[in-house]
Assembly symmetry: C2
Homo-oligomer: 489 residues x 2
Amino acid sequence: MKIRTPSPDAISHLHALIGEAGPPADGVAPRYLAEPRDRYHGRAATVLRPRDTGEVAAIVGYCQGAGIGVIPYSGGTGLVGGQLVEDGPLPVILSLERMDRIRSVSAEDNAMVVEAGAILADVQAAAAEANRLFPLSLAAEGSARIGGNLATNAGGVQVLRYGTARELCLGIEAVLPDGSVHHGLKLLRKDNTGYDLRHLLIGAEGTLGVITAAALKLFPRPAETLTAMIAVPDPAAAVALLGRLRDRLGDGISGFELIGRLGLRFLAEHFPERRDPLESDPEWRVLMEIGAPPETGLAARAEAALAEAFEAGLATDGVLASSQAQAQAMWAIRETIPEANRLVGAIASHDIAVPIGSIAEFIERGRAAIAAVDPALRINCFGHIGDGNLHYNLFPPEGATKADFVHRREAGTAALHELAVSLGGTYSAEHGIGRAKLADLQRFGDPAKLAAMRAIKQALDPAGVMNPGAVLPAAVPDAPAEAGGAAAG
Amino acid sequence: MKIRTPSPDAISHLHALIGEAGPPADGVAPRYLAEPRDRYHGRAATVLRPRDTGEVAAIVGYCQGAGIGVIPYSGGTGLVGGQLVEDGPLPVILSLERMDRIRSVSAEDNAMVVEAGAILADVQAAAAEANRLFPLSLAAEGSARIGGNLATNAGGVQVLRYGTARELCLGIEAVLPDGSVHHGLKLLRKDNTGYDLRHLLIGAEGTLGVITAAALKLFPRPAETLTAMIAVPDPAAAVALLGRLRDRLGDGISGFELIGRLGLRFLAEHFPERRDPLESDPEWRVLMEIGAPPETGLAARAEAALAEAFEAGLATDGVLASSQAQAQAMWAIRETIPEANRLVGAIASHDIAVPIGSIAEFIERGRAAIAAVDPALRINCFGHIGDGNLHYNLFPPEGATKADFVHRREAGTAALHELAVSLGGTYSAEHGIGRAKLADLQRFGDPAKLAAMRAIKQALDPAGVMNPGAVLPAAVPDAPAEAGGAAAG
């Protein structure tokens, strides 16, 4: 069976399943059909906002039977079009926003249980209230929801120490494509009882089911934290500096972000209140954060390690934050760069990763590859260098407009993705495939893996209703007829 | 299609695929058919020992077509019969022992690539040679092989800090049930490009394919390590002590093992050279290990934290190891307990986990549940309390023999598994399902998960040849005929 646009009867039936008379008179609110970069524009038959897992199961079960596409919708902050359908039959949007409860927090178990619609910042705050840390942290945390973070295996700025969303999840509750509910909210560190459905659904971007709740790992909050901004001679020195600091300071380094000079230029232009703490205006710098338990002499150890790094030529300038406010100001620089990029108008954004030992080579060869596409293009290279993950974005020359150079996007992106893959890396480190990188996955993906993915998708979602067209190409509709008529309604 | 015993022609063909004239004249060596506790006894048509991934692919592809069961065989140290087929059609054993190379170690990338047949201790040693730590550590590390560690998602004594085998694996190379090769040996911390086949195969116990190589995470080696044995008043105090030490010392605590008095009695009986460093002969004790970067004053911080714990009544006696030799002697006590258990003769062994906050309740109620089965039974309770994971083993009364009490196994095990699950826990924390816990998985498993597991197994292994009868019940054979005759041979 292939999916079809739902009939008016089917839409009414779906709203009735969640106790509503019908769809809102003014149609689908525009916020469900837009995304941060304004590159994709969604379409939908209606938006369903269930209040509990039973309602999610009823919706999904009905849609599986009727052949209606279901788009699980979380915070809407995804950057690869995973939450937006631009063509084909109209789907229904299943928004988890009403399921936003923190179900429980246990400091003793170092775990919490939250519903999928909980906003990431609220999850962090609930953990902090119990004197624990939930370390997932990213620029969109004020509006991103945990279900989407898990469905896309979000990364962010603390992966180096704590791992990606996948590694922070102990268990899930999920509605599978047939409408059955998988109850897997265990708080266990060890549980070897059959195939790990959790890890299959995490990162599947809503194509194998809907995560409705999650058990999350918590950590002790570091008693002391040290933040520093350090100018480095080049990216290779940044990698060497990280290696040296890890040898000296252990794995307490939770953030290690590379920032290029152009990012600071963009900030100066659009956010002049974000003042650069470094006077030397270096071409490359890193922002680092280190946490430690109490009474380990963190500041003295870090200063000694940095002094050695200066002597070894791995650092040329630097500022240690002397207050919480100064640390926040440093992080604000890093976290405002994506917004500044948007205001300047990137013609292409990337989310590559390579083994950390190949970062410097990627940056050098990437610059050459882009110059070959068009020497006028400007590069803003920044990102999570500690994870080997860079956001490597292309801009028109100063004074020119995005519209004049957007035709370079395809060639620029192809060159960078090719380069990353050739270095044993990836063209999607933390954003996922969505609909933006479907062709990349088909091109670069391991054929055996792609065949297994198709087999798994077919086995769990035979009608192909879950987020059709994301991650894997959608099946072609059989016929233009509407779904959910007499037979299914 | 259902699997069948291979014909002599099929066996010859399989050996020819790996350049051999035929099976050895003296049949299948007994070591492939036994397991550490001597509870299961395997059968096989032949043993195939391929030299490379291409040979593994050829074997698996042929068996998929011919309907011949394939048992991936690693170190043979599994405790749940996952590597042994006791009935049904004869399978072939596919041993990875000849594929034991360390392919590469990169200190800069904090990663290494090893073949599946590499012995765990050799993997650890290769990491150490590059001044890095591969933290997976368990009693059988001298003979267990990394492929089996991954297929069963092994745990061990450093999970508290570093995670299970699953969390230590960056990527895999694997032969899927259709004989295709999945090339996924990336060294990346972040790679969101489709369904995570790695995590599906890890923990699938060879039922969804054969892991042939793995990319593994490495860590900085702790500059300082502190080992201590601490007497505690009861298990609740052990859990409270861990919480307090984590608050004071951070997450550098890599091991936290509970040991009950009966374990020490068994050691005194069978390994008198393992001297108890505590004079107070406590009913309960913990063995702990803490690592730290250089110059953090670890010993002073640990002593202060322990002094507070003594004052709070969480500890009653204790010894800090003052040398590497003393630390090793403490660990030898913990690591010899399983062997002492075997010599004494356990009538039942368990591998339960509960959320750590429920550990004390499990131990108390478990004791009552076993007393209700038979008040004469003795309990040796020990294990990885920091992970909520206990090995809770039952013994006949002193002077009695195992044979006289083995009829209590079923009732004792049922009571303990029931109790663990009722506390939100598991009946298999780190050993897996194998064939020993098939009925438990069917009984306690989430129905939606079980249905998804069957669908995935059917989708990836339609002939059901990969480790048939492990994890999921084997299909019933169609007919007694032999496989691999004219059509397939």
